[in-house]
Every structure is written in C-alpha cells, then in structure tokens.
Amino acid sequence: MTRDEIAELAAGYALGGLDAADHERFEARLAAGDPEALAALRDCEETLARLAAETPAASPPALRAAVMARLEATPRAPDLAATRGRPRRRSPWAAVWAATAAAGIAAILVGLAVSGRYERRLADLEREAAAIRREVAEQRALLALLRDAATLVVALAGQPAAPDARARILWHPREGGLLIAAGLPGPGPGKAYQLWAIVGRAAPVSAGTFGVDSAGAASVRFRPVPDVDQVDVFAVTLERAGGVPAPTGPMVLAGKT
C-alpha cells in the first residue's frame, strides 16, 4: 500500500465515511500497529479537532450540573493502563467485547445485589408472616376457649413459698388450657415449675412444666390432660427440670375450680 493510499484510508476513517471493506482494511493495519497508519490517523484526527475548535459554543451551565449529577450512576471502565505498554492499537472489537463484558458483569452484580437484597427481604417477610400466623392461631384458640361454655376460669393464689405469685388458668377438658402467671421467682438452675390437675382424692396428674421470664411471668399453653374431664384443684409446684411423676417440691400456686 502506498503512502497516499494509507493517507486516503486514514482521512476516510477519521471523517467516518469509509465503506465496509476499506474500514476493515484500515483497522487491520491499526490493529497490527502499522506506524504509518497510526501516524496518518493521528494527523487527521488532530486536524479535525482543530477544525471543530473553530466553532466553540458556550455550553449551558445546566449541562455541566446534569453531567456531574450523573457521574455517580455511571460505571467506569476498568483501568486499561496496564495494557497501554502494548504498541498495538486495541482492536475496536476488543473494546466492544470489554464494554459488553463489563456491562454484563455489572448487570449480573447489580442483579445479584438486588436479588440478594430481595431474597433477604422475602425471608424476613416470610418469618414475620409465620410469626403473625402463629400469633393469630393462638389468639383464635384463646378466643375459642373463652367462648366455649365448658371453659373454666380458675384463679390461683400465691402460697407461702411464693406469696407474691398469682395466676389464672383457662381450662377446657378437651382443648387443654392456658396458664397466665406473674410474680413467680425464677425456678433456679435445673428446676422448673410443674402444673398439676387434682381430681377429688386421686393422685395429682401432671399437666406439664414451664419456666418464667425475667419478670417472673409465664403464659403457657397446656394440652388436655388424658382421662381428666373435671378438675377440682390446680396447683403449681417447684420441681426438677423435666418434671416428676408426682409432686415433691414446694407448692407455689393453688386454686379451686
């Protein structure tokens, strides 16, 4: 290729009007690092920059503000300084691929960040919804218990071992019951409170064990006691954790139905 041919291609390339075949031919030379082609293109581009500079126009101040405002949201190309040592001109396709890959990676990262955020949020909502469903079920059960004519409300009084304790029991022979207690001292390590249902002179039947919160309060659901339709007395004793078959410890609460 003669000097004039190279200069012609460079001029057409810089002016942006080469046909596809010429365009490819010249880019191949640039990609190969042909110094003549690079120098010719550089001369043409500098000349056109000078031509453009002949008609400057004051840009609106709002334009500057708009550009500066959008910088934050504009991802930047990875620093290609490391590749600058190469004498070769980067193929435009390399730039396209890099831009495409960068855009793809950015999209994936944004997607992951967004979906991660939404997944966490969904999990939170799911947990919240489950907690609300549990609470609604408990409230419904409680309401059903209260509405049922067979439900007994029993007040339990503190005994000498726990004079400040007090409690209420909602009790239904087939649905079980709810114990709401307050003023109980902490049971201590390895200990638990145990609720007993006493019928006549028969041996007390365990209805389960429970602990109290730091304020000494408890709100505990109890399953129905098998084979017990009618209860005369409810009592709470302090026993070892896990419960015992028959009461042995001090009585803290008691109440007649």
Binding site: E8, L15, A53, P56, V67
Partner: protein, 189 residues
C-alpha cells in the same frame, strides 16, 4: 501537531486523573473542553436541546472510558472530538430516519429545516474565518459532507456526482491542506 485548542489545562493529564475516578479532574476537563464539544455537537445536530443530550452522553462516556485514552495516539481534544462527532452523527442519522417518511408525504419540495438554532449556528460559522473556506470548494464540500453531515464516501460521490476514487482523494488532499493551514496558524500564534 499543535493541540487542537490552546488550553491552560493539560487535558491529557486531567484524563489520566479522571481514569482514576477523580471527579474534580473531570470537572476541570469538562470546563476546558465543553465549548469545543458542545460547539461541534450543536453544529452537527442543529438543535440545542438535542445537542445537550448528546453532550451529556459524550461526557459520561469520557468519565467511563477515560482509562482508554492513550496519549501516544493523539491529544485529549482529538480523542474527545472523535467521540463527540461520532455520537452527534448517530443522533443526526436517527433524526433523519424519523424525518424522511414525513418529508416524503409533503406536497411540494421540502424546504430545508432552517430553525433558529441552525440560523444561529450558521451566523456563528460566518463570523469565524474558517480554515475550510481557504480550501478549494470540492475538497471543502467533501469534508463538510463527511465530518459534519455524516455522509459516507459513497453517498458523497453520488451527491456531488464524482467517482468514489475522486472523493477519497479530495478527502485526503483537503485534510492535508487543512493541516498545513492550522500549522501556519500555530506558527503565527
């Protein structure tokens, strides 16, 4: 080759700092080059609002791609002008695609759309003693049609009624002549 615009700022060094994410350097680069880019873009798209949109895209591209600027390949101004011109031509072509069907429906021959912006730009051009005006008319025409109108060499050949080879030669001779003229200006200044 002299820089495209005698600037107090070392725009190449600023671009290197922009590549490292320096917003202050970007602001200074903008201030040093906005008139150059905006003037070129408006001259090409002939509409101030569209020119602002294109200029925004161009400068955001500068922010994104500053790391791609290689000072050995040319001045920062030439790098910017190449991008600004390319985006402006894209916009111009898109506008032409939208306008053509409408012009086809017009009853009479369509008048060239010479709005206020275009008139202002023309007036501005008139005030400047452009180096282009010192070129032989055929060379000037080829450069204007290619650089400012975005026509391909084949389209120019069809429009001016000259063989493609002639258009290619005029483009080369025109740019060589311009380069000589700017070099003279540089020597004087």
């Amino acid at each position: 080759m002299e820089p495209a615009r005698p600037a107090a700022e070392d725009t190449g060094a600023l671009l290197a700092r922009v590549a490292a994410g320096d917003r202050e350097a970007f602001g200074r680069f903008y201030d040093a080059t906005a008139a150059l880019a905006f003037g070129l873009i408006r001259r090409i798209v002939r509409d101030s609002a569209a020119a602002e949109e294109v200029a925004q895209e161009v400068f955001l591209q500068v922010w994104r791609d500053a790391a791609r600027y290689d000072p050995r390949r040319g001045t920062a101004e030439a790098w910017l002008v190449t991008r600004a011109r390319s985006r402006a031509i894209d916009r111009l072509r898109a506008a032409r695609r939208r306008e053509r069907p409408l012009a086809g429906r017009a009853d009479g021959p369509a008048e060239p759309a010479e709005d206020a912006d275009a008139a202002a730009a023309a007036e501005e051009r008139g005030r400047v003693q452009s180096a282009l005006q010192r070129l032989p008319a055929p060379q000037r025409r080829v450069i204007e049609l290619a650089f400012f109108e975005g026509l391909t060499q084949a389209e120019i050949a069809a429009q001016v009624g000259a063989p493609l080879g002639t258009v290619k030669t005029r483009a080369r001779l025109g740019l060589e002549r311009l380069r000589g003229l700017f070099a003279e200006q540089g020597d004087r200044g």
